[in-house]
Amino acid sequence: MLGLSAKDTRFLLIVVFLTLATPFLLQPFPETSSLAQFNAGYPDLMQKFAIFGIFAIGFNILFGLTGYLSFGHAAFLGVGSYTVVWMYKLLGYNVLPGLVLAIIISALFALVIGFISLRRSGIYFSILTLAFAQMSYNLAYSVLTPITNGETGLQVYLNDPQILMGENSPTSPHLFGIVMRDSTQIQMGDWLFTMNNGYYFCAVIAIIAFYISLRIFRSPFGMMLRAIKTNQTRMNYTGLNSRPYTLAAFVISGMYAGLAGGLLAAMDPLAGAERMQWTASGEVVLMTILGGAGTLMGPVLGAGFIKYCENIFSKINDGVLHGWFAFMPDGIEDLIVAMIHPFVGKGWHLTLGILFMLVVIFLPGGLVEGGQRVARLFRRNKKAGPGDKDPEHHPKQAPHVAE
């Protein structure tokens, strides 16, 4: 189906199901329980899952397949956001023209930056991309204020032209009248499920983005990219120049980043320079490595994991902790709260950092490798034949790039 093998089709269908069911799956605890704060099924967070999922999928096409580590992808994210907000200001609140233009403009940016940066590889390539992103950030912050509105950030004002705005057009981002921030809420007993238009819009785009990345992974082009990662010398002596391949991968991943940035502005009609800062570029690197670079699902998992930590752990403050441990004697309660305190609330980065270190040390293949190990454990228990006893002396099969 759709040019995919049976296995990949099944895989894609699972992804589609999980994406569409997210508002229900991420809401496992009833509203009234004390665990309700671990629910992640609210629109703002779910939108971030989808958007940063797209960002990471695109980044993985460059980093996961070719091994070129870009530290400047946030620049494209920012370009996408600015483009969409400008389209709001000039045309109106329909998100479509902005998103299309965001992809085109970020592709042009990626073409220029990639053309220059890809003259070098390894650490020099990373530094060049970082330099470009920081230049973009500083320009957006200062010199380009007429375009970016500097520190305040770009937003829509009442006196903007908005030439396509009709009498009854919605006054917030929409797609042909479907307003992004509107939601349908379903109450089932103690559970409250929010089905947000914006989330489903992002989810559909994320599924398309995932499908395209799946096709690229399985294509001859994807195979060439993996070959470049493994051995550039052999690639050159096989009669292929690796530069056009890496540039194509760079532009594609830049387009994904521009789309993700555009979607951020489609959910919330604002664009600020901080979106281009190097921390944002670093975040997508963390997402990809945490989930599993070079795997299809890994970057999405990594993006979800980091955004979940950011939004959920940071909400847990001392008051909440005291609530949890209230059953203990006062002295011990205070001690435990004091011990957990640095890891939650404003200190959520500490938790994330420790988790990241654990993953990199014990699961170099990321969360996906963790999942595969667990799956293998179950499978081995099922059929512990004599053939499995000596894994060292069996030829290793090539790791499949799916899962």
Binding site: G3, S5, R215, I216, R218, S219, P220, F221, G222, M223, M224, R226, A227, K229, T230, N231, T233, R234, M235, N236, Y237, T238, G239, L240, N241, P244, Y245, A248, I252, P395, K396, Q397, A398, P399
Partner: protein
């Protein structure tokens, strides 16, 4: 007039004259070996042929066209494939993918996007790659991780990757370096088979006399950057100049 014509090539690294006035002519459909003691300039000469180094003076013509100033990938597209001293393969890919890539490279000639196609749909290319793997007795290993194979198998795979491109000239840089006797003999058998079955010209740089004398049609002996003699193997064996180059002043 040979398929490869090297004329008056000089290469100097600082104060060291690595190649001094090298002339070499490799005739089509022959195996030409280049031998010589350590530091004779064998590898420098090879690197000048594939575009890795550019000679200071002289000319290198392949099939009437100069290769000087061209990039390795352009020279490959002219019809020259190279086997390295340590096998250069795509370690993270499967054996099959390793052979598919040169197939694509030869057919497409240069960069093609092909991001929305599948490998399985390229029936002629898949067939060609499978046939090649069968020719080198590796069809059963096609789904293996290339990096996990033995040294001998990696060498075999690298040869397959070069041969599937149907090169007009195959350059081999010490194909048996660091190999055990059994692996060396396997490689010799493989090369002999290639020589018999295909219309191919080979230039071999080699240390191992056993390999050279069992394969080569002609041998050039290189010493201190200059060709000493060029002749058929039988004449090279007892040639006094060759013994001198290898053993020093044996009779002095």
């Amino acid at each position: 007039m040979g398929i490869l014509e090297v004329k008056g090539v000089n290469k100097r690294f600082g104060g060291l004259q690595a190649l001094g006035d090298v002339n070499l002519s490799v005739a089509e459909n022959t195996v030409h070996a280049i031998i010589g003691p350590n530091g004779a300039g064998k590898s420098t000469l090879l690197n000048c042929l594939v575009g890795k180094l550019i000679p200071d003076t002289g000319s290198v013509m392949f099939d009437g066209q100069s290769v000087l100033g061209r990039k390795p990938h352009e020279i490959n597209q002219m019809g020259i494939s190279r086997v390295f001293q340590t096998p250069e393969i795509f370690g993270d890919l499967t054996v099959m993918e390793n052979v598919l890539i040169p197939c694509f490279a030869r057919r497409d000639g240069a960069f093609r996007m092909r991001a929305f196609e599948t490998v399985a749909h390229e029936k002629d290319i898949v067939e060609k790659a499978l046939q090649m793997l069968e020719d080198v007795n590796m069809a059963d290993k096609k789904d293996m991780h290339a990096a996990s194979m033995s040294r001998g198998d990696k060498r075999r795979l690298e040869m397959a990757m070069c041969l599937v491109q149907e090169p007009r000239l195959l350059l081999l840089d010490e194909p048996t370096a660091g190999m055990a006797r059994a692996d060396t003999n396997n490689t010799i058998d493989l090369l002999r088979e290639i020589k018999e079955k295909r219309d191919i010209t080979m230039a071999i740089i080699e240390h191992d006399m056993h390999v050279v004398f069992s394969l080569a049609d002609r041998i050039t002996v290189l010493a201190q950057g200059t060709p000493l003699v060029e002749d058929v193997p039988e004449k090279i064996k007892g040639h006094p100049k060759v013994q001198e180059a290898y053993l020093g002043q044996a009779h002095g």
